[in-house]
Symmetry: C2
Subunit: 211 residues, 2 copies
């Protein structure tokens, strides 16, 4: 049993990596088998629904990954601005260390397949919704009103997704860095421009330790 | 001669449209012929370099199109914030009216092909550079310092590109609208947060007409 689920897991990881680098159309089952080192034939055993079943699992894994990345960034951040800085840094580092190959695990597929593939489009939307909810809940914990948290979450997601496109084309982290700086600046401005909100929970704790 | 260049032009337009909807891998020469109504066989006459020569022309056409869209938005805008609102509105309207099929003409290809295709990646970067330069020069005309103009241009480009991804997945203009609102709000804040800059040229004209 462990061996079976191991190779299933390795195939999902390999699919995620390939989808991130090249998208849906250029990712074949044979590539997934080669990259994962899984035994030939095992792919239809683990994914009887074919390629879209494997892609379905890869989208779900990507959603979990982004939620974990948000949680990790939040745990290391002292306020909303540093939270966005750290989260963006994680995304940008992967892009740079991959030689500008590895962007978002689902964005390429979205642009290739939405809105035609009903099922996959619903799954893309769900994955983005999970990322959005993770961001919104952190912004709210830091005292942002819901409307502001939602607007900032969308701006951060759109900004990072778009910056990945610009930086892949430029083969440079420069557009990604400039976008991140602008996002962080905007979030920092929101922190002081919401006079009705209580000082963010985590910042208050930091402040009291300092005083 | 006019007939020849007409069919060449129609093929480039059809390629742009298909690349915008589905990307590089899912766009075949046969689709371009069908969509453009061009005579079969004419494609190798007009594009002896094959698919990548057609794609090269489509990228160049996309760059011209975005420059024209920026120029049109600038001519209808009264200040940097309304400029970004109008430009984003044009991009968003196309997405919505296409049933969430038609996003950016090159973003899908960037995510499919960069950085592997050296030649096309350089062309993607060049197209984005033209969009960036068009935005920067307008922001500067309205009195933004170069650094600010560059940061805002990258944020707008990244924000719109990313919002197209989110809205295609959501099959709704909602993420695009929220991102646009956040971008416009940010540009409006920049307008008042640059005390060293002269009042924007066009705003001054508007103000003097009003008073």
């Amino acid at each position: 049993m462990p061996r079976r689920s191991d190779s299933r897991h390795r195939m999902i990881e390999a699919a995620m990596d390939l989808l991130r680098r090249r998208g849906y159309h250029a990712t074949a089952f044979s590539d997934v088998i080669r990259e994962s080192g899984a035994p030939r034939g095992s792919i239809y055993f683990h994914f009887p629904g074919g390629k879209d079943e494997l892609v379905h699992e890869a989208i779900a894994a990507a959603a979990v990954e982004i939620e974990e990345s948000v949680a990790l960034a939040a745990s290391r951040a002292k306020d909303p601005a540093s939270f966005v800085r750290i989260h963006a840094g994680d995304v940008g580092r992967r892009l740079e260390s991959s030689g500008y190959e590895s962007g978002c695990a689902i964005a390429t597929m979205v642009l290739e397949l939405a809105p035609w593939s009903e099922q996959l489009t619903a799954e893309f939307a769900q994955a983005f919704e999970r990322w959005r909810a993770a961001l919104v809940s952190r912004f709210e914990q830091w005292g942002f009103p819901t409307e502001r948290a939602l607007a900032d979450a969308d701006l951060v997601m759109a900004g990072l997704e778009g910056a990945l496109v610009l930086s892949r084309a430029a083969r440079s982290l420069e557009p990604f860095r400039r976008t991140t700086d602008a996002l962080v600046e905007r979030i920092a401005a929101d922190m002081s421009a919401e006079p009705g909100t209580a000082p963010p929970r985590k910042r208050r704790a930091t402040t009291s330790r300092r005083s």
